[in-house]
């Protein structure tokens, strides 16, 4: 058993997963403190699902190791009782009623908070006797979330839970999640490519790109450390030496740098702009040259 330092709910150390000769996830190292809501960001195919499945013990790592709530993810009741997992596409038994799912949960788990689940679904006005297949996508996601939360997990893993939902259902799902986190000591890791949603609920961030971890940090420090520097065209080697340039764009007259500050910025000739989470993500995911970032830049220069 790998022991994680106290207060660390999720830890990955050089974690990797290979399918055939292709690495779906590689050199993944990060730690999420207990009680955090961690957003897992990355483009499609960046390894988000693979990482979550490794953390849930549904697949075995090809390299490195993981610890979730102080245990190695594996096929044992001690581990499974500690986690909640919600897979992509929200698998449920479509012909079963919501009630059937609640009863399944009660039968298959040692710890099961039935009143809380019923209460949660009642508040959302989800009829318990209805077949799950006839519910809306948002309602199904809520049912699946209620099931995962009723286990009273220490760590909850959600794989793109809101991707298929309309904005209203998304908001409702995320507020249910936020309430659950406020309740206790639950740690959540939640993958999404919708950065705006993550910004609303997350206070921690892990960024995957091309199967590797690019960034793993507290959200506030992420926002504080990343800046857009705009200035007249000139040599940027001083900046590149002291800080990490994620992305740059140069025109005839000016240069824009998306930078992670590794210390104070001394050069006063740069115009320093704050970046929002989406802009930071785009810089990391290498999409800076495409439309959204251009929009961001024109906003800045306007």
């Amino acid at each position: 058993m790998t022991t994680a330092p106290d207060g660390v709910a999720i830890a990955a150390d050089g974690l990797g997963k290979r399918y055939g000769s292709k690495w779906a996830l590689r050199d993944c190292t990060f730690a999420v403190p207990q009680g955090r809501v961690c957003g897992l960001v990355g483009a499609n195919g960046a390894g988000k699902t693979t990482l979550l499945r490794l953390l849930a013990g549904l697949s075995r790592p090809s390299a490195g190791h993981a610890a979730v709530s102080g245990q190695v993810p594996r096929d044992s009741a001690e581990f499974l009782g500690e986690i909640g997992y919600l897979a992509q596409d929200v698998p449920l038994y479509r012909r079963w009623s919501v009630e059937d799912h609640l009863r399944m949960g009660a039968h298959l788990n040692r710890r099961w908070d039935d009143p809380a689940a019923r209460d949660r679904l009642g508040t959302l006005r989800i009829p318990l006797d209805q077949r799950v297949g006839t519910l809306s996508g948002g309602q199904r996601a809520q049912v699946a979330l209620a099931l995962a939360l009723a286990k009273r997990p220490r760590v909850l893993m959600l794989d793109e839970p809101v991707a298929a939902l309309d904005p209203l259902a998304r908001r409702s799902f995320l507020s249910t999640l936020a309430e659950a986190v406020a309740d206790g000591e639950l740690t959540v890791i939640l993958s999404s490519h919708l950065v705006a949603d993550l910004e609303r609920v997350c206070d921690h961030l892990v960024v995957l790109a091309e199967s590797r971890t690019m960034l793993a940090a507290d959200l506030d420090s992420v926002l504080a450390e990343h800046r857009l520097l705009v200035g007249p065209r000139r040599d940027t080697s001083a900046i590149e030496r002291d800080h990490t340039v994620l992305h740059s764009e140069r025109t005839q007259r000016q240069v824009s740098l998306w930078v992670r500050l590794d210390g104070p910025l001394h050069d006063p000739n740069w115009q320093v702009e704050e970046l929002n989470l989406e802009e930071i993500m785009l810089a990391y995911l290498g999409l800076g040259a495409e439309q959204p970032a251009k929009a961001a830049r024109s906003e800045v220069s306007a």
Partner: protein, 305 residues
């Protein structure tokens, strides 16, 4: 797990119970009257082929049980794990506080207990009902009789269930798994029936004159027959010798051939080997079922879900 399995498979169980009932009632009713008629005719020594007159429908129904193993492989074996892999619900179940091992174990026990029970129930009914019919038949080895009576069909049933299970795990989708199950089942059954069954034991041969008539003894499984001339097997088409061709009737020409030294060699499995063959056939299919189940379990545990 018991609750989960019952909730998941109660519809299949109900359908199976209804079908079994619908099959058992006519078989039990006609079987009793057939037995009575058979006892009566045997007492007066006047049992004939007309014994089954009026029972044609039930006869057909009984013959149709040849399909039972394939149906069980199709609707139980191929879906019990395959469907859950297809819909992704394994990710839901495997993250409850239930290990994969326990989940799979309960699924296997349910599948094989159900297959064994229903296979045995159907075969038992058919065997009991057919005891009268068998008396009117040349051989219990022939036609469908070997395949629907005794223990062989029970072996087929667990084999079909295991084949469905393995196909479901390999394909991870119910529909191709079902197609594979049917195709594989028919293929294996044909290979065994045509190429293996006649050779489970060294066959018995008898030499006789052609005039003694063709065909192996009553109740046996025919393996083959050859025409011999002076102890040598004649291959290919045999030309009727000139001096016998003029014979006006079949017995006359057969007697003529006997005089020239032609002989008939019959190779067959004697009737007394029926139950040995039944158990050998059961053993083969049970072994295949075990093998396929091991393949399914290993694949499911090794490959990530």
């Amino acid at each position: 797990m018991t609750w989960l399995l019952w909730r998941q498979h109660r519809a299949q169980a109900a359908i199976a119970a209804i079908l079994l009932g619908a099959f058992a009632i006519p078989v039990l009713v006609t079987g009793s009257s057939l037995h009575a008629a058979f006892t009566a005719c045997r007492a007066s020594d006047r049992c004939g082929g007309d014994l089954l007159n009026g029972y044609e429908n039930v006869n057909t129904l009984v013959d149709l049980t040849i399909l039972v193993p394939a149906v069980i492989g199709l609707f139980w074996g191929a879906v019990i794990v395959g469907r859950e892999l297809e819909t992704g619900t394994v990710a839901l179940v495997w993250t409850q506080t239930v290990t994969k091992r326990r989940w799979l174990g309960s699924k296997l026990i349910t599948l094989f207990a159900a297959a064994l029970l229903s296979g045995a129930a159907v075969s038992g009914l058919v065997t009991w009902w057919s005891s009268t019919r068998n008396a009117t038949l040349e051989s219990r080895f022939g036609g469908l009789q070997f395949d629907i009576q005794g223990v062989a069909p029970v072996g087929y049933t667990i084999f079909a269930a295991a084949l469905g299970l393995a196909s479901g795990v390999i394909w991870r989708r119910a529909l191709p798994a079902m197609a594979t199950t049917v195709g594989g089942y028919i293929g294996v059954r044909m290979v065994v029936e045509l190429f293996l069954r006649p050779h489970y034991m060294a066959p018995v041969s008898t030499l006789s004159g052609l005039s003694k008539g063709f065909g192996p003894p009553t109740g046996s499984l025919n393996v083959g027959s050859d025409i011999l001339l002076h102890g040598r097997v004649l291959g290919g088409a045999i030309r009727m010798p000139e001096q016998c061709a003029s014979g006006s009737s079949r017995p006359a020409s057969d007697a003529c051939l006997d005089r020239l030294g032609y002989q008939l060699r019959q190779t067959y499995q004697p009737a007394g080997r029926y139950w040995t063959f039944q158990w050998i056939e059961f053993g083969i299919f049970a072994a295949l079922a075990v093998l396929l189940t091991v393949v399914a379990v290993v694949l499911l545990r090794r490959r990530d879900a």
